[in-house]
């Protein structure tokens, strides 16, 4: 076991080549910090990525790594994890890689619930191709490919994941190091696919896209930190909350007859609640934390169980016997 590993053990000898000021640096630092705390031997850790800025990630981790092709990381990781359930697999992807060119693999891996972790860096822009809108960019986004503004309605990564039957869905923010670390650990502890959207600032092509939730001076008014079993409260003075008005959520000011007991209590096992929170958009606060977490059999374990059962029932395969099955006869 990796008992004495430190953050440094997870730093590769390769020079990090993201733009200065990129949110990816903070994510990399936190992942390297959390790794030794997970109790996994370094040689059992594999980072797999697709294409894009985020997908350079594996080169900087001193573990096994695979920088693959655009959008296919979940499929490659599935092949690896199914046949090597002993490994600790992480997929690093972005809003373009994971939700556009690789959208199909993403939804299918989520429904299958293969036991690995997906870190989706969402900066709502194409960085590596230098600034086109992405499937999470807002309508009206003016970019090089949309000089008159994008008319493309965006995906919401959280509700896409929930809709794809994900068993673990969370959101965190690149600069919220402590929260990010907690989410990484929660995702890692989860058996099945853990989907973690990380709001990540691209300071070159989409600077301050998440300013309201990351700027220290204002973020408390916009971030709603989800905690299982606790009422939905936010605000600098923790004096605002989410209450149901019939079937619709509303922001209420605590006091004047409104108490915590009137507020919605977060329940990670409630899919309807997760969808409701996933759809929060300004002026509602932006939820961060674990939206949804339920136990469900994993694809890799189920498949390996079938293999074990077959072996228990039929014995280890004998190739010579196998060839002699079917319609056979002997010619003397």
């Amino acid at each position: 076991m990796a008992t004495a590993l430190t953050r440094k053990d997870f730093i590769s000898d390769q020079e990090v080549r993201w733009c200065p000021g990129c949110g990816d640096y903070a994510i990399l630092a936190q992942v390297q910090k959390v790794m030794p705390e997970l109790g996994v031997a370094r040689e059992n850790v594999v980072f797999i990525s697709g294409i894009g800025c985020s997908s350079r990630f594996p080169y900087y981790m001193n573990t096994y790594g695979f920088h693959t092709i655009h959008g296919r990381a979940p499929a490659i990781a599935t092949g690896l994890k199914v046949s090597r359930p002993d490994l600790d697999v992480w997929v690093v992807t972005g809003d373009g890689d994971g939700l556009s060119i690789g959208g199909n693999h993403m939804i299918h891996v989520l429904r299958r619930n293969v036991d690995f972790n997906i870190l989706l860096f969402n900066n709502r822009i194409y960085g590596l191709t230098k600034g086109q809108y992405s499937p999470t960019s807002e309508v009206g986004k003016v970019t090089k490919s949309t000089p008159a503004g994008s008319v493309d309605f965006p995906f919401n990564p959280i509700t896409v994941a929930l809709g794809a039957q994900a068993s673990f869905v969370a959101r965190t923010i690149d600069v919220e190091q402590k929260h990010l670390g907690e989410m990484l650990k929660r995702g890692h502890d989860h058996r099945g696919t853990s989907f973690i959207e990380i709001l990540q600032n691209c300071n070159i092509f989409n600077d301050d896209a998440f300013k309201d939730v990351s700027d220290k001076s204002i973020k408390a008014e916009h971030q709603l930190v989800l905690e299982h079993g606790k009422p939905l409260i936010f605000g600098k003075n923790r004096d605002r909350g989410i209450r149901m008005n019939g079937m619709r959520p509303e922001v209420v000011q605590l006091g004047n007859g409104v108490s915590e007991s009137d507020l919605v209590v977060h329940d990670e096992g409630n899919l309807s609640l997760a969808f409701m929170l996933g759809n929060f958009e300004p002026p509602m606060p932006t939820p961060v934390g674990v939206f949804y977490c339920v136990a469900r059999p994993t694809y890799d374990a189920a498949m390996n169980q079938q293999l074990e059962e077959a072996r228990a029932k039929m014995g280890a395969g004998d190739p010579q016997k196998l060839l002699r099955q079917g319609d056979t006869w002997t010619i003397n």
Binding site: E43, N44, P58, H67, I69, R84, R311, D327, I331
Partner: protein
Amino acid sequence: MALPPEAAGQAAESHSLAGGGVEPKRREKVDHVVIRFAGDSGDGMQLAGMQFSTESAMAGNDIATLPDYPAEIRAPAGTLAGVSGFQVNFSSNEIFTAGDEPNVLVAMNPAALKANLDDVQPNGVIIADVAAFSDSNLKRAGFASNPLKDHSLDKYQVFEIDVTKLTTLALRDSGINNRAVMRCRNLFVLGLVSWLYQRPIESTEKWLAGRFRKTPEVLAANVRALRAGYNYGETTEAFASSYVVAPARIPAGFYRNITGNSATALGFVVAACRAKRPLFLGSYPITPASDVLHDLAGFKNFPVYTFQAEDEIAGMASAIGAAFGGAIAITTTSGPGMNLKAEAMGLAVKTELPVVITDVQRAGPSTGMPTKPEQADLLMAMYGRHGESPMPIIAAATPADCFDCAYEAVRLATKYMTPVILLTDGQLANGAEPWLVPDVSKLPEIKVELRTDPNGFLPYLRDPETMSRPWAVPGTPGLEHRLGGLSTEDQTGNVSYSPANNELMVRQRARKIAGIAREIPPIQIFGDANGGELVILGWGSTFGPIRETVNQLRSKGKNVSHIHLRYLNPLPDDLADKLRMFRKVMVAEMNMGQLLKMVRADYLIDAVGCNKIQGRPFKVSELTNRITRALEG
């Protein structure tokens, strides 16, 4: 292959000698017979054909089969589009094809008759289920009048049998409903034809027992229909005699009837066993490759992982992931699917991971004719990827050869750390032949040594002989490294944009693949080993028709030889010299001339093509005509 006239002659003679059912019937000897079973796609003709083939193989004949079925699962009943056929050639001699022209056509309805009549040899036997020749069925098949009545079939020997009524009578108190009774008609016909050629029906009964073990009443009905058909042949006055095709002189040993897809699946399993690694298949269902997935899904205990992916790309991608983890990783597909896998195949080339991509070729372009064979994916296999991304390509020649080729593909992939393409086609996939089951311990060694020693480890440090890089899998302490699609530095595998290094790596990979040629056995020329007038060069499933044609022409004194390639990339080192020993080179393939282009481009040999793009194998008669003209020209 055409039946020798004498065999057909005997068949014709016997019909005129219809006798009583009291005395034991005569048995006449024939050399070989081609039967085509044809009916609606729901009539169970594939099943009847397969079982008849197995019976014939067990009777000691050499066999070759050609299933021919529509892409539609159930086209409207009684229409030409819905006709499904299965042709089997069984012989007391060695045979290479399922035959050009059937001697016997079983037509379960007018559409089956109409769709196949042109192929039946003059004087051939037609067994028709008269019950199906209703006015509406005749109209649906496009007959203006009933061919059974209007003398349009006078040049054939027609046996009108009310299969529907006879099957219904036989199953009168079987307790199964009318629909189920109708589904036993194929067994009645199989029984009848089995009697006609004195095939043992025990193997079919055994097969039925396995298939219907959970529904004893259905099993009993099927067996009863089969036996009723057999006994009907013996007792009816319609058939004066039955025929015997003596066993072929086949090498002694343990045999199994096998289709190409089954042989492919077995080749992969056995290769993985020899490599002592698990087998992983990532695949998306596609005709005509899906049976490989089906077969492998039944071999879990070996262990075999079968992952039915969300698409073709994920099939390939998951195989790459499994290869990274140390599995014998494969993907199976057909042409349209290989297009989709191309980018991921390039990643496997670049990262030098062993994956076998099987393309069970079908007629294209686009969706084309999914159930029909073609060989038009060769140039895609050669060049259908961006950048310089060479891959070894091997092609199977017969259904049983699919086993050897699948096994060889794994051996090459793991030895040279490279993706390998295995080309088969729809004809091989579904065609069957007797297979002398090999002794697993005598197959070529597949030695996989995963790297464990961290001392001096570099991900791209090459073996001096094979030029392959080490296979270092996650979970191995001290070998942590990163692979990727970006251009990488020699030995270290670190990302590098150095122009000179990029060329070095491109050339290293090309040399590695080219170097496989030293393993290819010397070319065996069938015919004139020292050269001659004309050589036919072929690859893949054209083996049977070419060999049969060349065999026949040589027996008539024609100066023609045959070279058949298994290795298409790299091509054998001695190929150019061997071809140059002949005055003329003709490349016969089921495409517009793809191997032809390669041979002309690589060797500047002025070869000519012999091409067919009809979704059907070459007929011996077609090749004979073409070769005869070439010899004269």
